[in-house]
Symmetry: D2
Subunit: 292 residues, 4 copies
Amino acid sequence: MTMKNYAVVGGDKRCALLAELLAKSGNSVHAYALDKYNLSDAIVKKPSLASLKDKYDCVLLPLPLQIEAGYLNAPFSINTYLLDDVFSLFPPGQKVVAGKVPHSLFEKAGRLGVALFDYLEREEFSVSNAIPSAEGAIQIALEKLPITLNRANCLILGNGRIGKVLSQYLAGFGAKVCVSARKYADFAWISAFGNTPLPTGDLTGKISGFDVVFNTIPRLVLDEKLLRELKPEALIIDLASSPGGVDLFAAKELDREVVWALSLPGKAAPLTAAEIMMTTVQNILEEWGYGK
Amino acid sequence: MTMKNYAVVGGDKRCALLAELLAKSGNSVHAYALDKYNLSDAIVKKPSLASLKDKYDCVLLPLPLQIEAGYLNAPFSINTYLLDDVFSLFPPGQKVVAGKVPHSLFEKAGRLGVALFDYLEREEFSVSNAIPSAEGAIQIALEKLPITLNRANCLILGNGRIGKVLSQYLAGFGAKVCVSARKYADFAWISAFGNTPLPTGDLTGKISGFDVVFNTIPRLVLDEKLLRELKPEALIIDLASSPGGVDLFAAKELDREVVWALSLPGKAAPLTAAEIMMTTVQNILEEWGYGK
Amino acid sequence: MTMKNYAVVGGDKRCALLAELLAKSGNSVHAYALDKYNLSDAIVKKPSLASLKDKYDCVLLPLPLQIEAGYLNAPFSINTYLLDDVFSLFPPGQKVVAGKVPHSLFEKAGRLGVALFDYLEREEFSVSNAIPSAEGAIQIALEKLPITLNRANCLILGNGRIGKVLSQYLAGFGAKVCVSARKYADFAWISAFGNTPLPTGDLTGKISGFDVVFNTIPRLVLDEKLLRELKPEALIIDLASSPGGVDLFAAKELDREVVWALSLPGKAAPLTAAEIMMTTVQNILEEWGYGK
Amino acid sequence: MTMKNYAVVGGDKRCALLAELLAKSGNSVHAYALDKYNLSDAIVKKPSLASLKDKYDCVLLPLPLQIEAGYLNAPFSINTYLLDDVFSLFPPGQKVVAGKVPHSLFEKAGRLGVALFDYLEREEFSVSNAIPSAEGAIQIALEKLPITLNRANCLILGNGRIGKVLSQYLAGFGAKVCVSARKYADFAWISAFGNTPLPTGDLTGKISGFDVVFNTIPRLVLDEKLLRELKPEALIIDLASSPGGVDLFAAKELDREVVWALSLPGKAAPLTAAEIMMTTVQNILEEWGYGK
């Protein structure tokens, strides 16, 4: 790619590492709202957001863009910033990439003539992040289980991106892997890769033998009845974003161990997570018409 | 499933085995246009198509339905049958499953009130058949290559169903597997499973090192220029249906070895292929409202 | 197996879990020198060693038998015990299994007519423990590396039991795995399983690209020269028992991150580690002439 | 390696390809008793054995050295040669490598001052050849089985070199793989790699479910009783050298399908098999004191 002029605004360690990676690749990088992170000298640190008025080839906002509604997600800044104020600074035509953008901000961006893109609309971003998510889940299982994954009975709920990658990596340990799904085609995929399919809608009576259950489905699957069927020492790792897939109240009552693991890519492999962001930004820019 | 009343009409060994499997599972099975195949006593052999006028729970036609246009694909029959004549026999409401049904027959079925379903519209059918296809492709490679798959440099063109399964099975031998794709998301999938992605549109200069190339893309990919780049002893296995993905004329001129392998499931694993048909038929019937 | 009468004497969590597993399998189990561990009611707790004078089917001592030379390894006891005193209690003919038994104690046992066996003389014990060791090593890598194991460049020094298992499990993540060995036959094994062999004696100039190095060789391999060649951010995980395989002084000088991971089976998977002990004890007893 | 002066004497396609590989690597190669094979111009063809009196860096005899006792294995020669005559030609000190050398010839070589080495004494030769053997066995299974290896129930008798490699490659297809062994340590290895161990000595009552049995043990294992237990359609592939591991008479009586597959490396992957020979010869020469 030709070198570009980036602004990285706010965000967590993953965003800071993204800034470093972009600088290391020879780009010009300006950092805003990262004042508490110890960035290298290759990056220009900006004390205020004022110069976001200047046009950049691309402005990189965090993923997720906001944690408290309406405010920029900026854990490494001593200040707080209203997203409305941030967006008001951008010159018309500014290209901006952010993650988990609320509908209202897309509208605002449209009115301001700002070209706004969400990481999560990129299929390759989600697939790539399934890898550190799966590895993070395995790390938790290795830490928590008193038995080896080798020969452990593992159940993965859901054969989406994370389910597909996780089932493969678990099988690599010689674990016995069942994967639940709803579609016949998914049953065929699960069998093709040497694992055992189970119907998600019909788990009752089939899960008492599992040592560990990984949930990837973002709706209630492990209800009280199923939790009761699990053996008491089974470990549950919930990888689904809010509201998760486990009845946490029932799990507590029944004394089942549940680890709700969110935002694994940035935790399990922050550098790879930053590389995935960088690649995705470059793919977006390429499709927006920037040459290599 | 509750037992049912099937007619199996025409088709190759796979269809004959399908009839046997259905009978073995306790269904009532009537065979038409399979007179030269040595069917077991569990199956009622019908000397003519006349009693197709009777209603069956389901009539199973071949995959593909026709080889010569307009005629039933019936290699095990001493007679030939016009598809129009076959369809005219069915009573209104008859459920029929067939494969590669031409558009005109769907129209005819509609007019006759016949409920016609194509195997190929079922995603699970295609996924399941990717397994025997991949195994058949590996069998050809094992037969033809003078080197082991272990450490062989393998290129798979296309990361569709067959590409995904084949890449996994080849990697199981310790082969070095590259897979070509066009979408960024596919690159991520290929990497996630430990293989190396290549862009399908930009292969020039990158394929001289491969010992074997498996094509799964049903349009011309290996043109004269790419064929010339391959080393002379490289083996090409084309798994794509007509027109295939290899310039066969150029390959002959350049003395490159090409195996065009069609209809692998029925050849590589006819019993599994028949089981896949049976499962698919049962899934179709279930969704048409038959209970288990 | 027929039920037996065991004494479990001292040891860490793994030994305590071994006592529990034996009791759960229906054996009679007496615990000594485990007074601070919260054992279940199925186990008879003995306040002093005095009744070790009684004959048991088998007495199970810890692995390792001693940490401070001459003393029983008994971290869950409030007392300390001289091994000489413990052995003096055993009646002639007593069968005893222990781990890492010093030569002098074998002599003493011989004079006392005690039949003493070392876990570590059992090949199946060492092979089985390679599994939790490899999983523990992967856990450390997942925790420490900022990148994913998928596509990471991994070097394993040594193709012994742990090297063989670890290389396989790492490859399951889609990591790029090199394994060093000295013998031609090991090179062939490494290639057969799809990984890349390197000569242990000739690593100079070949290791600058690795993201993580796992050492399994119990003699100095990673000397200052090789450490200098590794990239600064490479992670080193030393799995070799004392004296280890890394020049720790040089590593500190060069600011290379080294994790010296000892006794992984008991830490990574204490329950599996206890099961391995139980299986080994049963195999020993079976060969000593006890029937099933 | 520095270039050397080789004589290749007799042998099958594998030996002819070995001659070609050595020539391609820049060595001087003289071919004897290969007159019917169409060798390239890079090789000097010798019309008689007379000039074997000249000293070569190494003389390469076939594997196996003899098929009919006392005669050189030379299927590509129009003549026959007594091994005694061949050995009488060698000058004292001649280095010779051959395969499956009978004891009497070692004696003769000793008396003549000929340095004779057997390929089969090299562990790396046997390990490397396990790869084409395993691939050849899988090729046969793919050709003969009417079902896919994916989800097939596979039994491998013996966890030696071929058993270890074959179990791994079969598992790569998503097959269900059991491996029989006699030692506890082998049970542990089999489990470590995700497969299921069975005791070789106690198979009765455990083998009725297998779709395919691969034997690697060179003594009678599948006797009439076990053959009777196998399901009628099970396929048996015997990879063990004479006398094999299957009661062929009983198998015929019971109408069980047995493929006795010998000398697979040269058949399944002749070029790789020749490369393995070349590497082994070079390793032998290196250890005999030739520098690289």
